[in-house]
Amino acid sequence: MAQVPLDMKVVDECRRLAASIADDVQRFIDKHTTVGVERTVARAFGIEGVDDQGIPLVNMLVDRIHAQKLLGRGVAFFLGRELLRGAPNLQDAAERLAYGRSEITGEGPETEAQINAVLEQGVKTALKHMDDARDTREAMKARLGMADNPWKYVIVATGNIYDDAIQAKSAAHGGADVVAVIRATAQSLLDYVPHGATTEGYGGTYATQENFKIVRRALDEASEEFGRYCMQTNYSSGLCMSEIAYMAAVERLDMLLNDSMYGILFRDINMQRTFVDQYFSRRLIARSKIIINTGEDNYLTTADAVDAAHTVLASQFINEAFAHRAGVADENLGLGHAYEINPWLEDSFLLELSQAQLVRQIFPNHPIKWMPPTKFKTGDVFHSHVHDAMFNLVGITTKQSIELLGMFSEAIHTPLLMDRYLSLKSTKYIYTAAKHLGDEIEFKKDGIIETRARVVLNEAVELLTTVQRDGIWDSISRGAFADVKRTLTGGKGLAGVVERERAYVNPILSMLEGGAA
């Protein structure tokens, strides 16, 4: 089988450096919480509903506590205290706190032990809810079976969830294994999760719990009808990444786009906020055995794919280190990378093959997410289709795990029904025609492909060495990834970051961290 030479000593060094980088941030994470994390805790306790302005109760609740500068104790503390003070249940407790006339104060005779005891049942129910969803999903997967890798992953983005559901089924009919409904354009910057089924959205459809349900239903039908389990994906990113992770967990999503740095680099979300949020989201994801897709592919849209190839690899090690710290297992860690080299560059195909093989070998147990060409796509749909074919050939040869299929209309619009169908058809052809190509070939010793793999790995370890020396915070402010620079206090959402108090209460996180049942 075709392999590129791998110096395992260098790979180990990369992992060691990434671990140290993540540990530095983890110390910060462990001392902080955010409005997003606390809203997620409230949701996990079953608190739901919106007011007549469409503002979710969890937002009113958390904002009110935050306005009193008390969020460092954790929303759970206040909910528990309200129960001790006579609220009949958690929902009622939340309503009293959010809408009650008297101001919320930090004082009270209630002890931490009392609070934890009164919340115990709520915590159990919250975890059971997630665990049940996971078990249902795993059972369905086992019963219906899964397709071979690479899984064919397509995007749906009509803006109207009911059209999305139709298109999702059509995609499954055409052979898709994974369907992602991409979020509406501006959602990542909303500091709340919209409510209910939605029919308006630009460039995608809002991620809401009801929308998740609608697509899950469509894909369950498709799974039964076509006799093969069809996976559902959405985005756990932006200011609500952990809330969305929770919704995905209880609505049985299979995958989530979830990255430790994407929001910082591509949505200008504050880095302190993102690091804290990603951790809690990944704790939920780990429990639910959802596969994450990281976003390194995006680096190659803002930076050059040849020059910056090593930044993708370096970032994969960092994403892996963060994910491990949140308990995500390798087999659920879909590290991302992409086929984004200028197609007109001589031997661009060989360079792509090299990188894809390198990543495959370094992360053998990870469901690697392989992304198609996008940046060099033009409105010439016929040529674009050929470009995607070359990408598919690399995907099957190097045995990528999850392949997001390229669309010939990439430079024009989010995919139409027909675009997706044609992409699935040609991918099927190439996967079949070249199924065992990777097993049959070997790369020339010290040839272009081998040499390139060595260079990229060596550059990655160099970059990780600098990032480890300077810390991730400074490194990002100097543009280490994606050629994008962000500062410690810049970007959106910083006001929602809070230092935990010594008496911070978050029994859900404690359970997730303890791994208990």
């Binding site: 055409g174 354009t185 989010t414 044609l422």
Partner: protein
Amino acid sequence: MTLIPKHPHLLRAYGDREGDGMVQMTFTLRISPGAQAKEVAKRFAEAHGLREPLISAMEECGPGYTYFVAYGHSIHHVDVSEVDVPEVKMEDLDKHDIEERIEHQIGRKVVVVGACTGFDAHTVGIDAILNMKGYAGEKGLESYKWFDAHNMGAQVENEALLARALAVGADAILVSQVITQRNSHKENASALITLMKERGLRERFVMLLGGPRIDHKLGLELGFDAGFGPGTLPKHVAAFVVQRMMERKQ
């Protein structure tokens, strides 16, 4: 098949021979494949002005949906002499010429502020024009000695862009719009112009609009001085700004 006599002004689609009008069309209909579907597709093609349409592919692309490829002779033609499209008119200057012109005719740095506005998070286009790195081997305006370029990045509110332009005393404002779904690019861009007009500031700046779906005609329609589309190079933008500043001076 020749549909009408050749005329230099009248353009027909060219397939294999002058005047054959041959075009290819693909579309999806909500119908299952079959004899009836094929006839429906044929009529659909005919309704679009295709004579003797050939349905060369018919495949189910989703339950109850079929995708078709049709070839046919288009009956339509366009009279070229009736088509008038505004184009950005400017001299073809290179970086060196532009720098010289600013030095001698303006005598101070030209200040520009750019941003990708609204919810749009696509920075690559505006970066290509403004940043050092540039585009297609051409360095961006940041690299020009006689330009002072401020790039605010993406997701910038119109208000914030305008405030910055006023603060740095900009000569030109560069707006990038990439997302076009449901005309969001047009709405965003024209909202900025409206805002500027309300404040009596429109004439103070040279206004440029750019993006993959922008052209000069659209730029003008939306109240900008110019519109720039795919393949724009930093030097085109530099040349236009300088030229427009000179025109205004006169």
